[in-house]
């Protein structure tokens, strides 16, 4: 196989509150021989909130980020669902609206950049599955996760709206997503079925609507627990923050104790590839990862 090479848009979370996500991403890329060039120039995607305040500004900043992947001539991979949604949405709007693209490019020209639309944008989960391949991944597994029941938590912004997401996620159906389940199986684990796996964790309303957010988080963990999961796995660091850090609030809102260790997608892959807990940053979890 030709060596895979991508431009990595880390997003802010992986550089701040979930350092273990960046660490484990780089660790498994190394193991799998995937080259990741960090886009250090990139700014925050606005996390679906900046656009509520200033939509045009959000477009310009996200387009600038993509420009840097285009300069490298590489596909941009994201490691956060919300970064994926915002970036892919920007790309789609600019690629389908020449007038808007021209307007954005007038601004970008002020800093010597031009958005062309030449780079694809895809989440690392889908790059692994579609470009690296599940079979190739399974062949590299050193420590199969066969003793674990693992609950996949997809996160909204990788699967909905499917019309947009299907441009890069291999046609995943948001009502019956399979990618993360398939990845669990490729790692030798047992994938757990539960109703909340494709539902929202509530992250984006956490400050302004704490009760709603807490109940959604609680429902997700409770669903996984009731399906006998040993732990959860997610491709989204924002979901991770909700599920890993905020189970106390969720328990209170739900009137029931909910708590499960939650791994980032690359941490799970890393365990199967034989990475050490330190290489995967498992010490950074608030809900203790007590099974390794």
């Amino acid at each position: 196989m030709e060596k895979l090479k991508y431009a990595l848009y880390t997003g802010c979370t992986a550089r701040e509150s979930t350092p273990e996500l960046l660490k484990s991403t780089l660790a498994i890329a190394d193991k799998l021989g995937i080259e990741l060039i960090l886009l250090d120039e990139a700014s925050c995607c606005g996390a679906s909130h900046l656009q509520d305040y200033d939509d045009f500004l959000s477009l310009v900043l996200n387009a600038r980020n993509i420009c840097y992947a285009e300069k490298l001539g590489l596909t941009m991979v994201t490691i956060c669902n919300t970064c994926q949604l915002n970036t892919a949405m920007t790309k789609h709007r600019l690629d389908t609206n020449p007038e808007l693209k021209a307007k954005v490019n007038v601004k970008l020209a002020e800093v010597g950049l031009e958005y062309k639309g030449s780079s694809e944008v895809t989440h690392f989960l889908y790059a692994l599955i579609q470009d690296f391949g599940l079979k190739n991944l399974a062949a590299k597994v050193e420590v199969p996760l066969s003793q674990f029941n693992i609950a996949p938590f997809y996160g909204c912004h990788n699967i909905r709206p499917s019309e947009l997401q299907n441009l890069s996620n291999g046609g995943e159906n948001p009502y019956t997503p399979t990618s993360l389940d398939d990845l669990i199986i490729a790692c030798g684990g047992v994938n757990v079925h539960y109703e909340e796996k494709n539902k929202c964790c509530g992250f984006h309303a956490e400050l302004q609507s704490p009760r709603t957010a807490a109940i959604l988080t609680g429902n997700a963990i409770a669903g996984a627990m009731d399906a006998n999961a040993d732990w959860m796995v997610t491709p989204c660091p924002l979901c991770h923050l909700k599920l890993d850090v905020q189970n106390h609030g969720a328990s209170k809102a739900l009137g029931r104790d909910v708590k499960l260790p939650v791994l980032h997608m690359p941490q799970m892959v890393g365990l199967a590839l034989g990475c050490t807990p330190a290489e995967l940053g498992l010490n950074h979890h608030v809900t203790k990862v007590d099974f390794v």
């Binding site: 509150s17 120039e41 601004k107």
Partner: protein, 325 residues
């Protein structure tokens, strides 16, 4: 697939009669389904050939009246528009047919949509305009202005989005995606004069746009591609543009991103929470912050990472900002 003309499907149909039943139950039917049949055809066959007491709503059979919306395996659909073969491809051969909301059932698949209509009415879903009684000419809207409606007027009030919205399922005050789409539709109309009033309605805490969790369920489920969340974003923008955004945790949360990006390129997560909540509100996050700090999840201000070529970002924020708070 196309060569298969019929296949066997198991249907589990939700049954409940408010007047006689304590608990709902499911009836199972195994039927041969042909490739051109839609869910409504199956409901009709069950009613006509198996059990005349099955109740459901239907009228136009053309995806226009919006009354036949139900859930199939958890997905909101129009019974008259959804082909069985397409559903089987996604969900397999066991098809579970339920009302849009099991909490609001009157009988079987028929629900009481009062909450939907009340919310809808609350946003004044009609044009408010002083017009002459006998105008000399038509009141024309240019194609350019009509485009601004973003096809929000395609909504048929089926309620599929409303009863799929997780924010609404928890917070009953939340106005919900369909009514927000309607609020946008009329507020974006150049002839309308009640836009400010509507914006005040959608700007209120708990009921307003700020409580949307951005799950994109409404965009996914809508059989008319209305894309309510897109209109919700527009309403957010209009609230800021109209200068009526209140200074509260929700608005500061959106504006805080711009501040942070201006300073670091990246988001300063801790500062965003402090700025959004204010110095007192932020106190309630302290236990969480301590737990995160202990695990190396909090970056201290002096270690805050910055984007390379930050001057570009600053320049763009200066030149591309379109609103003020």
């Amino acid at each position: 697939m196309e060569s298969i003309k019929s296949q066997q499907v198991t249907f589990k149909v939700f049954r409940f009669n408010e007047e006689t039943d304590y608990l709902p139950y499911y009836n199972t039917y195994v039927l041969d389904v042909t490739h051109e049949e839609v869910v409504l055809d199956i409901l009709n066959r069950i009613k006509w050939d198996h059990d005349g007491s099955l109740s459901y709503r239907r009228s136009c059979r053309h995806g226009i009246c919006g009354v036949c919306s139900i859930k199939v395996n958890g997905k909101g659909i129009l019974a008259c528009k959804s082909r069985l073969f397409d559903l089987v491809e996604v969900f397999g051969n066991e098809i579970i047919i339920e009302p849009l909301s099991t909490k609001r059932v009157v009988k079987d698949l028929i629900i009481d949509k009062k909450d939907f209509w009340d919310k809808h009415a609350s946003v004044k879903p009609y044009l408010v305009s002083e017009i002459e009684e006998h105008p000399a000419s038509e009141h024309l809207v240019s194609p350019h202005d009509a485009e601004k409606l973003l096809e929000a007027d395609y909504c048929i009030q089926c309620g599929a989005c409303h009863y799929s919205c997780p924010a609404l399922a928890i917070n009953e005050e939340f106005i919900g995606p369909a009514a927000f789409a309607a609020a946008y539709r009329f507020s974006a109309d150049v002839r309308d004069e009640a836009s400010l009033q509507r914006l005040h309605t959608v700007n209120e805490e708990a009921q307003g746009v700020w409580d949307c969790v951005k799950c994109m369920e409404c965009a996914e489920v809508c059989p008319k591609d209305v894309n309510p969340i897109e209109k919700i974003t527009k309403l957010h923008n209009m609230v800021f543009e109209a200068g009526i955004a209140k200074n509260n945790v929700a608005t500061r949360h959106a504006v805080g991103f711009a501040h942070s990006i201006q300073k670091h390129g990246l988001l300063d997560e801790g500062e965003l929470v402090r700025y959004s909540e204010g110095n007192i509100g932020v106190m309630k996050h302290i236990p969480e912050a301590i737990a995160m700090f202990a695990k190396g999840k909090i970056v201290m201000p002096w270690n805050m990472p910055k984007s390379k070529n930050l001057d570009e970002v600053k320049k763009l924020i200066k030149s591309s900002s379109t609103v003020k708070f």
